[in-house]
């Protein structure tokens, strides 16, 4: 009699927990179906507005092999790609825009977790504007022989951005050619 009680309790516990999990998963699948298209649209909008910021005359763009090719009137006017590097506080993601001669048109720091007030200043145009007009070979910090002034007090973050941009440029320019 006692044995039966314990056994049925254990089975009931397993069944109950399984049922709860199944209901939870179904509910989450339903919610995800509703929200997923919205999230995807948002991410595309974000990329589109970032690319338009770099290439104001952009009509359309194409995404293949991790490279955005930007078109105006069906002519290729530039390329863009995401560069990432390890900063002081974590991963830094940068959208790099090049013109058709592979010179930097503009870079935008898309995400970072650097120290607020110090490393986070890499997102400001006073830092990123320096990249405009440079070719890959110039993208080093001034103290390393390049043309980029680091953000005061945030050498590691600044260096991480320069290195990420330069490495991605070398890799992608090769791929496009």
């Amino acid at each position: 009699m006692k044995f039966k009680n314990i056994l049925s309790n254990k089975i009931y516990a397993v069944v109950f927990l399984t049922a709860v999990v199944l209901i939870s998963v179904s509910l989450l699948m339903a919610v995800n179906n509703v929200t997923a298209p919205k999230v995807k649209a948002q991410q595309e909008d974000k990329i589109k507005s970032l690319l338009s910021g770099i290439f104001p005359q952009m009509d359309t763009y194409n995404y293949e092999d991790e490279i955005y090719t930007v078109y105006q009137d069906d002519k290729e006017i530039g390329y863009a790609f995401l560069a990432n590097g390890k900063g002081y506080g974590g991963e830094i993601n940068i959208l790099v825009g090049l013109d058709k001669d592979f010179i930097v048109k503009r870079v935008i720091v898309v995400s970072n977790t650097e120290t607020p007030g110090l490393g986070s200043k890499i997102t400001e145009s006073s830092f990123t504007d320096q990249f405009t007009g440079l070719s890959a070979g110039d993208i080093f910090l001034k103290k390393n022989g390049g043309k980029i002034d680091a953000v005061t007090g945030a050498t590691i973050s600044s260096d991480a951005v320069a290195e990420a941009v330069r490495n991605a440029m070398l890799k992608k320019i090769d791929a496009v050619k």
Partner: protein, 210 residues
Amino acid sequence: MQNEKIGKRFWKEFAKGIIISNPVFILALGLCPTLAVTSSLDNALGMSAGVIFVLLCSNIIISSMRKIIPETVRIPVFIVVIATFVTILSLVFQAYLPPLYESLGIYLALIVVNCIILGRAEAFASKKSVLLSISDALGAGIGFTLALIIISLPREILGTGSLSVVGRILFKLPVLFENPMAIFILPPGAFLVIGLLLALFRWLGVVKNE
């Protein structure tokens, strides 16, 4: 007479969460997300709204199931319920409130292990009626919200020299805006503010000692 009694209990459980058993200042629960999100008023409000939603939903569900939850899998069941609501919240924020979703970052997912929610489920919702569990959740949730607002106001004002609500800048202080005391929006500042506020509460005697 019965309805009057229930009404009185409802308000008692509700009021308890706001001052006497304030989750942050008295129970010292959920301090990790508190420290992290109070760097700005908007983040604090966003997190509070999320916590109230999860707390309410999980208390209601757990309380309605309290008589059929087997003892041995009690905690896993609570956690599955709480995690489900946090995931729903996360998906909804990601789709409809992307800036808030990005500022809260990992702390949104961490609501699952916010001790306030599991604590209320274990100590209250699993034992009391649905109605009382609702008032308990609202009380603790609003108490949490008030605590977060009280902490984030000095942190944002001193740490950035300005105050914004829902993205709109309310005011900027003249000298402080150009030279903000950045320490207040960094972790040490969080500890300082919370520590000082705890001391203030105890000194004012608002807190009833255990």
